[in-house]
């Protein structure tokens, strides 16, 4: 079942065509990696999907519904979760409170003045933290966490609204190599268990080829390859682009 359908997406910045006619889909329970050398248009493409940038042409459909002109928060309400390249969490709150915020928002309880926030959705929050292995740190302040743990918290937050699509921008950026694998294994597991479609961008090719079900490759704004890891690895054009751009990444 297709969850996300991107059709003919294009975007120019001051005459430079950053993204040209890119189309792809992500199915439920599938991990799709979007890769490409620097300047290939990954970030632009990604930000058009999540609503931060409006495309010049093309469409983004989530479960058959256009996401055009929707703000990030409206997109989230439809059932799309996000993590950021540089983690964005609420530093003055504990881990549990971070997750509770997402749950409160999901249940539309933000404008409640009289209840106590700490009593809300405690079980749900701890269940989510359990899933990402952060339950034992639930009471710690987010500002004190190690970076890898912050990433997990973000993941728990992103899962709070039971998303059917998860957008992860460079999920392992800034992490130690051994942590990366662990995090991605966790993400993949969650996605498959809950039938969540995942679109992620990633620099680390080990991560990509180990965990993605499918890969799309962008170069100079265009989609140049698409397929299972083995196919993409064998693709001559991809090799050329990557080797040409410096083999250091792979």
């Amino acid at each position: 079942m297709t969850v996300l359908a991107v059709k003919s997406l294009s975007k120019s910045f001051g005459g430079v065509r950053a993204v040209r006619d890119v189309s792809f889909t992500v199915a439920a329970g599938e991990l799709l990696a979007m890769i490409g050398p620097n300047g290939a248009g990954k970030t632009t493409c990604f930000n058009m999907v999540n609503g931060q940038i409006a495309p010049d042409a093309g469409s983004v459909e989530f479960e058959g519904r256009s996401l055009a002109r929707l703000a990030p928060r409206q997109i989230w309400r439809l059932g799309v979760g996000r993590t950021f390249q540089i983690t964005a969490t609420f530093g003055s709150m504990t881990v549990r409170e971070n997750v509770q915020m997402a749950l409160l928002s999901h249940h539309r309880r933000l404008f409640s003045f009289f209840s106590l926030s700490k009593d809300q959705f405690v079980k749900d929050a701890e269940a989510l933290l359990d899933r990402v292995g952060m339950r034992d740190q639930a009471g710690r302040a987010c500002s004190l966490l190690a970076y890898g743990d912050l990433k997990r918290v973000e993941l728990a937050v992103a899962l709070a609204n039971r998303p059917r699509l998860l957008l992860m921008d460079e999920p392992t950026a800034g992490m130690a190599p051994e942590e990366r694998d662990e995090l991605m294994r966790l993400a993949a597991e969650l996605a498959r268990d809950s039938r969540i479609a995942v679109l992620f961008t990633e620099h680390d090719m080990d991560v990509v080829f180990t965990h993605a079900d499918r890969i799309i490759v962008l170069a100079e704004g265009e989609l140049i390859a698409e397929g299972a890891p083995a196919e993409v690895r064998a693709n001559a054009r991809v090799r050329e682009v990557y080797l040409g751009a410096g083999a250091g990444h792979a």
Binding site: A71, R77, F90, M93, M101, S105, S112, F113, K118, A141
Partner: protein
């Protein structure tokens, strides 16, 4: 308006713009690099004026100008090295508190050194006369100023673009962390920039003495003008400051020329509000990089411990029982402390947890006070009803202004709140029929059963305690958490479906409503209301209370309000130079307890517990 007078008014505007530009450029530079809102910039200008006037008699005007400017630059460098350098790492806005204290000290110093009488400086030798332009005469000195302003702009531009130091300044303006990473010696860069900013302020002041007397009142009026220019032009943009100075000076000049002189009371603030609403980063400003906070993140909110609750309860009980043993003035002073505590807590509600720095919170305090007076005297409502309805007016005002304000953030938001407060103030000041104009409204007394000091004190105690309890409680509610979420990470808040603007808007209106309660109580406690009730000084008092207590603590504003009100009352009664004393006390507190007094105590308690 004839052609001649058009030309003259245009030239008047140019001359005014030159003086305005120099102070504003200094302020802009300082803010751009150090992120300090230098409240004392007008005081540096004032010092420049006084020093120039004092020297002009001995060494002549033209020598007095550079001497004064250099002296003020030295003062600026000293202030930076001895004071500000110690508190760069403190929570934001604490530097503002420090510079506010400097304003108080500088004013009393000038009074002590140069006396109370205005001093009109000499005319500039060689440029004392006027030239004929059409049928009108135009001062030669003003022509000199018209040329001097752009020359200074050129000089600054050369320094900033053609020297290594200037490159560093520009780099630091755009990205402070980046500049630090590049190995820039920040200490000396900051000192240098502060000295240059002070130099420009001193120069602006010194050059002004042939046009206006040195007075003790000039500091605040100059600094507010300079702020407006800087914000309208775009923070950190020297060219923007020039354009904005030109725009504002011309608008004032032509308002007068066309016979709308009353508008000059508020013209610049209307311009600022319009610019901030339509072009939030100023005319030539750039969208600022997402600030990465230099201060340590706030701790998670913990529910008050039992002992803490018991202590608060004991305080409340003591206050409640107080009329049994004490009467008279103690109750009057406590009434005032209580309602200012509510005012400060309501300001803290949006400043701290919501991260919306309001420089114009007095507007809602004043709206509440005026609404109470107007309901009582003009609408002839019973006092109890007037007291109950007045805060709604304040809340409504906050709802209207807040809608615009929450679209901005940081210093831009602060300046927009200030602009709205000034506009509201000027409406109150001018609307004689409704508000009694500058004299205000008298005869706003409570109903007979509340008229005694004891009864009114108890009313204030009950209302303020309940209101403060509600606001504190609200911080523990999902709404309070949502406000902190929107402050901590707007990006994340947005990504989990939170409508941050609506949340902040609601928070802003709520804070306005509660400030209105304090204002209405204030009106009935004084029996009269005047425009000062909502003047910018009252907003500043609120800021001082919040920062003094510690912005990152919950009870801080309460103690800050008590301390500040008590200080003012006691010191003003016993000391002649009370402003300087209060300034010195604040400076001491800022240096000793950069987290605020309550923050410091809390820190100690935690250290003991750990």
């Amino acid at each position: 308006m004839s052609y001649d007078s058009f030309v003259i008014q245009f030239l008047n505007g140019l001359a005014g713009a030159s003086s305005l530009f120099m102070v504003a450029a200094g302020l802009s530079l300082i803010f751009g690099v150090t992120r300090i809102i230098n409240f004392a910039h007008g005081s540096l200008y004032m010092l420049g004026m006084y020093i120039a006037v004092a020297c002009a008699g001995k060494i002549g005007f033209w020598w007095a100008v550079p001497v004064a400017a250099l002296a003020v630059a030295a003062v600026g460098a000293l202030v930076e090295m001895l004071l500000l350098r110690r508190i760069y790492a403190a929570p934001e806005l604490l530097q503002l508190l420090a510079t506010f204290a400097l304003v108080l000290v500088a004013k009393d110093y000038a009074l002590w050194q140069w006396g109370s009488e205005d001093i009109l400086g000499p005319r500039a030798p060689g440029l004392a006369g006027a030239v004929a332009i059409g049928k009108a005469a135009f001062p030669e000195y003003d022509l000199f100023l018209i040329g001097f302003g752009p020359l200074m702009l050129l000089a600054l531009w050369l320094v900033l673009t053609r020297t290594r130091w200037g490159t560093l300044v520009r780099a630091a303006t755009q990205d402070r962390e980046m500049a630090a990473a590049l190995g820039v010696n920040q200490k000396w860069l900051f000192t240098g920039v502060f000295a240059l900013g002070a130099f420009l302020a001193g120069l602006g002041g010194a050059l002004q003495i042939p046009r206006e007397p040195a007075t003790l009142l000039i500091d605040l009026s100059v600094v507010s003008d300079a702020f407006v220019v800087v914000v309208v032009g775009g923070l950190g943009s020297i060219g923007g400051a020039f354009v904005a100075a030109l725009l504002i000076a011309q608008i004032k000049s032509f308002c007068i020329g066309l016979g709308f002189s009353q508008v000059t009371l508020v013209a610049e603030f209307i311009v600022m509000a319009l610019v901030l609403v339509l072009r939030p980063w100023g005319l030539l400003g750039r969208v600022p990089a997402q600030a990465r906070g230099p201060w340590t993140a706030e701790r998670p909110l913990v529910p008050p411990s039992r002992p803490a609750l018991a202590a608060l309860g004991a305080v409340a009980a003591t206050l409640l029982a107080l009329p049994l043993v004490s009467g008279g003035y103690t109750l009057v002073l406590l009434t005032e402390i209580l309602l200012f505590a509510l005012f400060a807590v309501s300001l803290h509600f949006i400043m701290g947890p919501a991260g919306l720095h309001s420089f114009g919170h007095a507007a809602y305090f004043g709206l509440g006070a005026y609404a109470a007076g107007i309901f009582l005297l003009r609408e002839k409502l019973p006092m109890e009803l007037a007291l109950a309805l007045a805060p709604l007016v304040a809340g409504l005002g906050a709802l209207v202004f807040g809608w615009f304000c929450v679209r901005l953030s940081g210093i831009y938001l602060a300046m927009l709140t200030l602009a709205f407060a000034q506009i509201a103030w000027s409406v109150v000041f001018q609307w004689d029929a409704l508000t009694g104009g500058s004299n205000g409204i008298v005869g706003v007394w409570p109903a007979p059963w509340l008229a005694s000091k004891t009864a009114y004190y108890l009313l204030t105690l009950v209302v303020c305690a309940a209101a403060i309890a509600f606001l504190w409680r609200a911080l523990y509610s999902p709404f309070g958490y949502a406000l902190r979420a929107a402050r901590d990470s707007p990006l994340r808040a947005d990504a989990i479906g939170m409508d941050t603007r609506r949340l902040q808007w609601a928070g802003f209106a709520l804070a306005g409503l509660f400030a209105g309660i304090a204002g209405a109580l204030y009106a009935f406690s004084k029996g009269s209301i005047s425009p000062e009730t909502m003047a910018v000084t009252r907003s500043v008092d609120g800021l001082v209370m919040v920062l003094l207590g510690g912005i990152q603590t919950l009870t801080g504003p309460l103690w800050g309000a008590a301390l500040f009100t008590w200080l003012q009352d006691t010191v003003a009664r016993n000391v002649d130079y009370w402003r300087a004393v209060i300034g010195a006390v604040i400076l001491f507190l800022v240096l000793a307890f950069p987290q605020g007094v309550t923050g410091f105590v809390g820190e100690r308690l935690r250290a003991r517990d750990a």
